[in-house]
Symmetry: C2
Subunit: 527 residues, 2 copies
């Protein structure tokens, strides 16, 4: 053993790197076991299995956390530092050591006991919310929310001092961003969005009756499957199951699952949720498999992840080209409902803009206003300026302020999203808007390299776009921080301009808005 | 802390007991996480997720094993021994300490590294077998079998000295039994079975054409679901999914799952497999929930478990009374195929006896001969008298000897069962025959207490039998060793007599065998 010291540095470093990878793989595999426990809870768990499931998840995540803060791991990372910095920044090894060390420095600040408490709490709260939301039973959820706020503050305090209590939580989701930087970004976006929403909502809304009615579940599932397959989701490395609140989960490079929810009286729900989750899944399936089982073997941040779900859901999936190809298939699946609906009417319907109550059903123009409301409220909850029991009133007031409407009950109000109740408090929602902003910015960069993308999509070919995203974004996993990736891929920092330009062009055409130039061409080609 | 020594013993013992339960619950929860990884692998895992799944299962079972051999656990068990022996033998606490200690003494003999290797091997081998069996590719599986034999011997050696290398493996499945005792049992049974098989097979076999044809999967699944529900399987605490090789798995008291395989050209496969797995599940769902998460919170042995699967599959599920109730429903599900088939023809068909190739399809008269062959071969493999590469020939010779027929290929020969290849070598099969023997013995005891059971079943009432089994067997979990449970429940030791009497009566009636008395009455009432 002592001989190792006298060996050339590379041999010693190689042995240490192997040991590092072994340890990181164990952590990754335990986290995957935890992810399966969660996936199963959200898809197939029998009603009375929930209590034990909460415990099972807690012990697995506690053990993963214990391993992620092992002294030996810290020592290895420190010893490997000189070796890693001697390598090119982008190399797999340098990136692995750099990111693993950053994770380690964060993880050692969080006690294992805390991690187990959060996991057990999250499972119990999810189970309670599943019953409470349909029953419009906020009272049951208030103690969970209070607990979630406490857990959020407790977490932030592990990283004290901070400028704002939400900063450590935001940094976990979107590394490099802060409460202050998001406030600036949101203020800028809001000032642009509000006039667009006003201009659109002063006109009669698009008729969406063709999307409502009776759409059989089996056909919806089959169509959804064919769509996600066509855009490039690989079913040899994934699957699609039903759940209450759709999500995507990575269990390994060969197992990235998506879930869906079918609403037989509104075809939009499953349709766009499938594209959203498939966007997440394309990202995870596109990470270089050589990075699997390491901390750099997954998407780099929640915001960049959302940029891919929103790119495929909205920029692509609510676009003209996409439906030029898919609409005939959808008409064939539902001839009674759609055979007489012209393409333009369908296209307008899926892009109907209105002030509405439910975030996940919101159109892409008003969506960010839902997010801004949530961001504002969660900051107030964390700061202690708003109490859990007063959330319902604050929610209604906020909806009036941001969207000009308010829900009749909590089911369609502050109970609609599970995030806060299960402990994702602070940093839970802003990533969706960051994702919207980046979705347009990345798409513009792809178009610049491949102007043929829209015409290809119109004939059902998605590979040019998919391959560009895989090459420039997906394959890198977490090698780069979000702002590094944006800079590399788009040639500049994150900017709201492409997103605003995209919305102006697309909705300018749809609603003949006066301030918009270059009308009449496809929005996808504009931006 | 030192004060604890001066506290009354019960207070100190209570604290220790609480700590013991906490530790055992962690182990149980980790094992449940491992069980979910396996369940998912056998039901929903995407093709390319298998490699990572093997690793995930390995790390989880290694950690469970590490916790099950912790020195602190051993110390607690030792310290609690005087307390436990001061309590009644049957009390929850005394049983818990007694069984946990027995498990601990076994577990410390097995290195954690071995457990991880077996788990990883099992997952990889299962994956290989899934492809190899349909391809009739024994060559691929020979190295797995060799490895499994090595792993079996390695395991036995942890418990050396032993009389026979299979003894430690058998004791794990059926505590208290040995190679020698099973050989005696099997010899006795064989001498009774062979003349019965000969007498039956000298007659023309029952016509089973009505069971073959085209039976839609959806209807089979629905019928299976309604049957297992009716006999008492609780879907709030379980679920039914499709798999390649049906099994039952317990994830907690509130989550006991069964799986099924549908063959559209033979209705028997799903039908009786469902009843078989539901029998296992009724046992697990019937264990006193207060024992959940402890080593006594599940069925007591593999053999006793099989007694319940075989009782519900055969004694009940292939019985006259059962079908008096269910046959009209099955006819309604498949009117084209069954409406013109009289009850007696159907009853004869589902009890057709023949010398056949596949164990899981075998009738209850020849079934045990399949088991005896496997038991003999696995002893030879473990002893080194038979080599893996010679298994195919030995299998064919053995089939000729036991059943008078031989398979045309390995798919229907030595590749048909997954057990050996995944490392269940030695002690893998004898439990099925122990189960058959006990199924009749337990049923006779239930009938003695409640002679009304057959007439109740004929009108779809299964609760008297289910409740009797729950009270006398299921609720106790692992409190009692198999032979203790048999003695308590039936008033005597394990015996082949009720089983032989059951077969003679039932098949005596069906085939008008000369040696059988009391013809013409229902077999279920005879025994």
């Amino acid at each position: 053993m002592d001989n190792a010291k006298h060996k050339p540095q590379s041999a010693s470093a190689n042995a240490k790197l192997a040991e590092l990878k072994r340890r990181l793989l164990e952590i990754s595999d335990l986290r995957a076991a935890g992810a399966l426990l969660s996936w199963d809870q959200a898809t197939y768990l029998p009603k009375r299995g929930a209590a034990a499931r909460a415990r099972q998840g807690a012990i697995v995540s506690r053990l993963a956390h214990e391993k992620s803060i092992a002294t030996e791991l810290g020592n290895l990372l420190e010893e490997l530092e000189p070796y890693a910095t001697s390598l090119p920044y982008e190399s797999k090894e340098a990136s692995l050591v750099r990111v693993a060390r950053r994770d380690f420095e964060k993880a050692i600040k969080v006690p294992s006991d805390y991690v187990a408490r959060v996991s057990a709490f999250g499972a119990a709260a999810y189970d309670a919310w599943k019953r409470a939301r349909p029953a419009n039973d906020l009272a049951t959820m208030v103690p969970f929310l209070e607990k979630a706020i406490d857990l959020g503050r407790e977490y932030a305090d592990f990283f004290a001092p901070y400028e704002h209590v939400a900063d450590p939580l935001i940094d976990d989701a979107d590394e490099g961003m802060t409460t202050a930087s998001i406030r600036t970004l949101f203020a800028e976006l809001r000032s642009e969005l509000v006039p667009i929403v006003q201009a659109i909502c002063s006109q009669p809304p698009a008729d969406d009756i063709c999307l409502r009615g009776s759409f059989g579940e089996a056909e919806q599932l089959e169509f959804g499957l064919s769509v996600v397959k066509r855009i490039g989701y690989d079913f040899d490395r994934g699957r699609l199951d039903k759940t209450l609140h759709p999500f995507c989960t990575r269990l390994s490079a060969g197992d990235v699952r998506i879930t869906t929810r079918v609403n037989e009286s509104d075809i939009r729900e499953a349709l766009f949720s499938n594209l959203h989750e498939a966007g997440h899944a394309l990202y995870e399936q596109g990470v270089n498999p050589a990075l699997d089982g390491t901390p750099i073997g997954r998407g780099t941040s929640v915001g960049v992840h959302e940029s891919q779900s929103r790119l495929w859901e909205n920029v692509v999936g609510r676009g003209r080209s996409f439906w030029q190809y898919f609409y005939p298939f959808l008409q064939r699946a539902y001839p009674d409902q759609l055979s007489k609906v012209p393409f333009d009417a369908f296209y307008r319907a899926i892009n109907r803009v209105e002030r509405s109550l439910i975030r996940t059903d919101a159109d892409e123009v008003t969506y960010d206003l839902h997010i801004m409301l949530r961001f504002e409220l969660e900051l107030e909850l964390l700061e202690g300026r708003l109490r859990a029991k007063d959330l319902s009133d604050a929610w209604c007031a906020g909806m009036q302020n941001y969207l000009g409407i308010a829900p009749a009950d909590d089911r369609d109000g502050c109970l609609q999203d599970v995030h806060w109740y299960t402990g994702s408090m602070g940093g839970a929602f802003q990533s969706y808007t960051i994702g919207n902003i980046l979705s347009a910015q990345f798409y513009v960069a792809a178009l610049k390299a491949h102007p043929e993308i829209p015409s290809e999509m119109a004939v059902g070919e998605f590979n040019t776009l998919h391959a560009w995203l895989r090459e420039h974004l997906y394959q890198h996993g977490r090698k780069f921080k979000p702002h590094e990736l944006v800079q590399r891929t788009t040639g500049g920092p994150m900017s709201t301009k492409p997103y605003i330009a995209y919305l102006r062009a697309k909705y300018g055409e749809l609603y003949q808005l006066p301030s918009v130039e270059m009308r009449g061409r496809s929005a996808e080609e504009h931006i």
